[in-house]
C-alpha cells in the first residue's frame, strides 16, 4: 500500500526541489510568503504555551511541527470557501483570516472566540473527534446545491479516522459529490496511541478507496506539496468531481495539549531529531540558503511583525470585557424558553452585584 500511495514531495529535507516540473511553483515570493505565515503561527503557538504556563489562558493544544500542513492547505483556499478545523488547527484558521484575539479568547474559555470575522466561514473547532467531518460534507453539499464554486476543507487527525463519523462523512460526501477536501494531518499519534495501534492499514490515504475517491499521501512538512495537492483537490471539488482525501505526514514536536506529558509514551529524542531534519521552516530556510536568498534581517523583520501582532492580540484578549453570565442563557435558542428565562432571572438576582 505504501507503494500505491507514495509520499508526494516538492522540496526535500535539504531544501531542494525534487522534480523539474515544480521548479516554477517554487518562487522566492511564494517561499517567503509561506515561510512568514509558518513563522507567524509558530510564534503564536509558542506564545500560547507560555500564556498557558502563566495561567493566562486554559489548556492549550499546540501544533508546532505541523505548520506546513496548516499553512499550505489554508493558503490554497479561496475567500468564500469553508473551513472546519479541530482544536489543533487554529494555525490554518489564522492563515485563513481568523482573528488572533478570538483564537486566544477561545483558549481562554470564551464563546466569543468561536466567532469568525465577518464573511469568514470558519466553523468553531471541533472538540468531539471527527464530528466535523459530516458537517463539512453537508456544508459543501449545500454549496453544490446552491450552484456556487465554493468548496470546503475539513481537518482531522490520524486518530479521527477510527471514528464512525469519519466513515459516514466520507461516504456521504462521495455519494453526493460534495466539493470538500478531507485534509488529514497524520502526526502519528492520537494523544499516546501511535498510528500503528490506531489502525491496521499502512496508510490513511488508502482509506479513500473505500469511497472510490482520490487519496494521496504527501509530506506534510513540505508546504509546497501541501499547497499543490490541496489546490488540486480543491480544483477537482470546484469542477464537480467530488471530494478527495489527503494524508499529510507530519509530527507534533510537543505535547498533545498542555495537560499532556509526551515523555510518558514516546521518546522525545525522536522529536528533536525530526526538528533538526524535517522541520517545515528549516526546509524553506535551506531552499533560500541554497538559492543564496536567505536574509537574516528579513527573518527578523517578519518575526518582529508577527510578535507585534500577537502581543496586540494578547492585550486585546486580556482587556476583553469579563465573561457576562447572561451569555450562558441568551444563546441557547433564538428566543429563550421560560425555563431559561426563569433560571436567568433567579440567578442574576441571587448573584446580585458581587457577581458570584
Amino acid at each position: 500500500m505504501e507503494k500505491l500511495f507514495p509520499i508526494i514531495r516538492v522540496i526535500d529535507q535539504g531544501g531542494n526541489v525534487v522534480s523539474d516540473e515544480h521548479k516554477e511553483l517554487v518562487t522566492e515570493e511564494r517561499v517567503k510568503s509561506f515561510y512568514s505565515e509558518m513563522a507567524r503561527i509558530r510564534m503564536f503557538d509558542r506564545k500560547a504555551i507560555s500564556l498557558q504556563r502563566q495561567g493566562r489562558i486554559g489548556t492549550y493544544a499546540p501544533f508546532e511541527g505541523q505548520e506546513a500542513s496548516q499553512v499550505g492547505s489554508a493558503l490554497a483556499l479561496e475567500g468564500d470557501d469553508w473551513m472546519f478545523p479541530t482544536y489543533r488547527d487554529h494555525g490554518a484558521a489564522m492563515v485563513f483570516g481568523h482573528s488572533l484575539r478570538n483564537i486566544f479568547l477561545f483558549w481562554n474559555g470564551r464563546n466569543e472566540g468561536c466567532i469568525p470575522p465577518d464573511g469568514k466561514k470558519i466553523f468553531p473547532p471541533a472538540i468531539p473527534i471527527a464530528t466535523q467531518i459530516p458537517h463539512a460534507a453537508g456544508a459543501a453539499f449545500a454549496e453544490k446545491q446552491k450552484g456556487t464554486k465554493n468548496a470546503a476543507i475539513c481537518y482531522f487527525g490520524d486518530g479521527a479516522t477510527s471514528e464512525g463519523d469519519f466513515h459516514e462523512g466520507l461516504n456521504f460526501a462521495s455519494v453526493f459529490k460534495s466539493p470538500v477536501v478531507f485534509f488529514n494531518q497524520n502526526n502519528q499519534y492520537a494523544i499516546s496511541v501511535p498510528v500503528s495501534r490506531q489502525m491496521n492499514s499502512a496508510t490513511i490515504a488508502q482509506k479513500a478507496i473505500a469511497y472510490d475517491m482520490p487519496g494521496v499521501r504527501i509530506d506534510g512538512n513540505d508546504v509546497f506539496a501541501v499547497y499543490l495537492e490541496t489546490s488540486r483537490a480543491l480544483e477537482r471539488a470546484r469542477n464537480g468531481e467530488g471530494p478527495s482525501l489527503i494524508e499529510a505526514m507530519t509530527w507534533r514536536y510537543g505535547a498533545h495539549t498542555t495537560a499532556d506529558d509526551p515523555a510518558k509514551y514516546r521518546n522525545q529524542d525522536e522529536s528533536a531529531m525530526k526538528r533538526a531534519e524535517t522541520d517545515p521552516l528549516l526546509r524553506l530556510e535551506r531552499w533560500l540558503k541554497n538559492e543564496g536568498l536567505f536574509d537574516e534581517a528579513w527573518v527578523k523583520e517578519i518575526e518582529e511583525k508577527a510578535a507585534m501582532e500577537i502581543d496586540a492580540a494578547v492585550r486585546e484578549m486580556e482587556s476583553y470585557p469579563p465573561a457576562d453570565p447572561a451569555v450562558i442563557f441568551d444563546y441557547v435558542f433564538a428566543k429563550s424558553t421560560w425555563t431559561i428565562e426563569k433560571q436567568k432571572r433567579e440567578y442574576l438576582k441571587l448573584i446580585g452585584s458581587d457577581g458570584r
Binding site: C114, P124, T131, P134, H135, A139, G164, D165, F172, A334
Partner: protein
C-alpha cells in the same frame, strides 16, 4: 395563527405530508433527507409523492447512516438550508445522538448565534403496532434534557400539520415525534394551506374540575378513553394534550392543577427519568399548595420496551389510567 378557509379530511400521516408539501413549495431552503424517503415515499409513506413533485435535489434518499446525514444536515443548516431529516424510527436515532447533543443543539450557543441549526428531525415513535424491537422506543426525555433543541409531539392531524410548519419555520432544531400508532387511526378536518400551531403551547381537550390528566401523542386516546369512563362514574377531567415536551406549557398545566389539585400523567416512556418526573417537579414548583393528592404517573415500566408479544402489558391502558384517576380521587 389560524387562517383556515377551506378544510380537507386527513389522517395524521397525510397531515404531515401536507405540511411538508406546503413548506417545500413555500421555501426553497427546505430540503428533505432520510432513508427511503424518495422513490419509496418513506416506510410510512409520509413523504409519498414529494420527490416526484420537488425533485431529487429537494427530497433526498441518504445512505443508511444516521450520524452521517444528521451531521451533514447540520452543515447544510449552518449553510443556509432548512433540512427536515427523517429518522426511520426513533429507536434508530441513537447513532446520531452525538451529532444532536454536541452540535445541532449547541452550535448557536457555541458561536453566540453566528451559526445556527434550523433543522427538523422527524421520528415515528412508540409501541402498539406489533413492530420488531427497537422500533417502539419512546425516549423523548433524552432529548428534553438536551439544551438547545425543542421537542414536539402531535396527537392529531390538525396539530401535526401546524406543528410541522412551525417546526420548519423555527430558527432552532426541533425534534418532531410522530406517534405511529395514531398515524392512520383517525381522520380529521384540517385546514388547507399554511397555518401554525405554536411550539410550547399545549391544548385542553376536555374540561373537568376533578383531575388534570396530562398526556401526549399516542397516549391521548388512552387518556381520553379513561377520562370518558371516569365521567360515567362522575369524575370530570381536564385532559391536557401537552403537544410540546420542551418547553412545556407551564401556564396550561398550572392553571388546571390549581383548579383540580389532582394530577395523572400518562406516558409510554420508562418512569425513571421520564417527562412525568418533570411535570411533577413543575407542579411542585408552581402549584405545591394546591395539591390535594400526590400526582400519579401511568407510564411504561423501567424495562426496555418489550418484544411485541408483550407490548400490550407494557403500554399504559385506559384501565391503568382510570385506576390512577380513582387513586388520586380517593387520596
Amino acid at each position: 395563527m389560524k387562517m383556515a378557509l377551506q378544510t380537507k379530511t386527513l389522517t395524521l400521516v397525510q397531515a404531515i405530508t401536507d405540511g411538508l408539501d406546503i413548506m417545500l413549495e413555500d421555501r426553497e431552503d427546505v430540503i428533505l433527507l432520510g432513508e427511503d424517503i424518495g422513490t419509496n415515499g418513506g416506510v410510512f409513506r409520509v413523504t409519498e409523492g414529494l420527490q416526484k413533485k420537488y425533485g431529487e435535489h429537494r427530497v433526498i434518499d441518504t445512505p443508511l447512516s444516521e450520524a452521517g446525514f444528521v451531521g451533514a444536515a447540520i452543515g447544510m443548516a449552518a449553510n443556509g438550508f432548512r433540512p427536515v431529516v427523517e429518522i426511520q424510527f426513533l429507536g434508530f436515532i441513537y447513532p446520531a445522538y452525538e451529532q444532536i447533543m454536541t452540535h445541532a443543539s449547541r452550535l448557536r450557543m457555541r458561536t453566540m448565534g453566528h451559526f445556527t441549526v434550523p433543522m427538523v428531525i422527524r421520528a415515528p415513535y412508540g409501541a402498539g403496532v406489533r413492530a420488531p424491537e427497537i422500533h417502539c422506543d419512546s425516549t423523548e426525555s433524552i432529548f428534553t434534557h438536551m439544551p438547545g433543541i425543542k421537542v414536539v409531539c402531535p396527537s392529531n392531524a390538525y396539530d401535526a400539520k401546524g406543528l410541522m410548519i412551525a417546526a420548519i419555520e423555527d430558527p432552532d432544531p426541533v425534534l418532531f415525534l410522530e406517534p405511529m400508532r395514531s398515524y392512520r387511526s383517525s381522520r380529521e378536518e384540517v385546514p388547507e394551506g399554511k397555518y401554525t400551531v405554536e411550539i410550547g403551547k399545549g391544548n385542553k381537550l376536555t374540561h373537568g374540575d376533578d383531575v388534570t390528566v396530562i398526556a401526549w401523542g399516542a397516549m391521548i386516546p388512552v387518556a381520553m378513553k379513561a377520562a370518558e369512563e371516569m365521567k360515567q362514574k362522575g369524575v370530570e377531567c381536564d385532559v391536557l394534550d401537552l403537544r410540546t415536551l420542551y418547553p412545556i406549557d407551564k401556564d396550561l398545566i398550572i392553571q388546571s392543577v390549581q383548579k383540580t389539585g389532582r394530577t395523572v400523567i400518562v406516558h409510554e416512556a420508562h418512569e425513571t427519568g421520564g417527562t412525568g418526573s418533570d411535570l411533577i417537579s413543575l407542579i411542585n414548583d408552581e402549584a405545591f399548595l394546591y395539591q390535594k393528592a400526590p400526582a400519579e404517573r401511568v407510564t411504561g415500566f423501567d424495562a426496555p420496551v418489550p418484544y411485541f408479544g408483550f407490548e400490550e402489558y407494557y403500554l399504559p391502558t385506559p384501565k391503568r389510567v382510570a385506576a390512577a384517576i380513582e387513586k388520586v380521587m380517593k387520596f
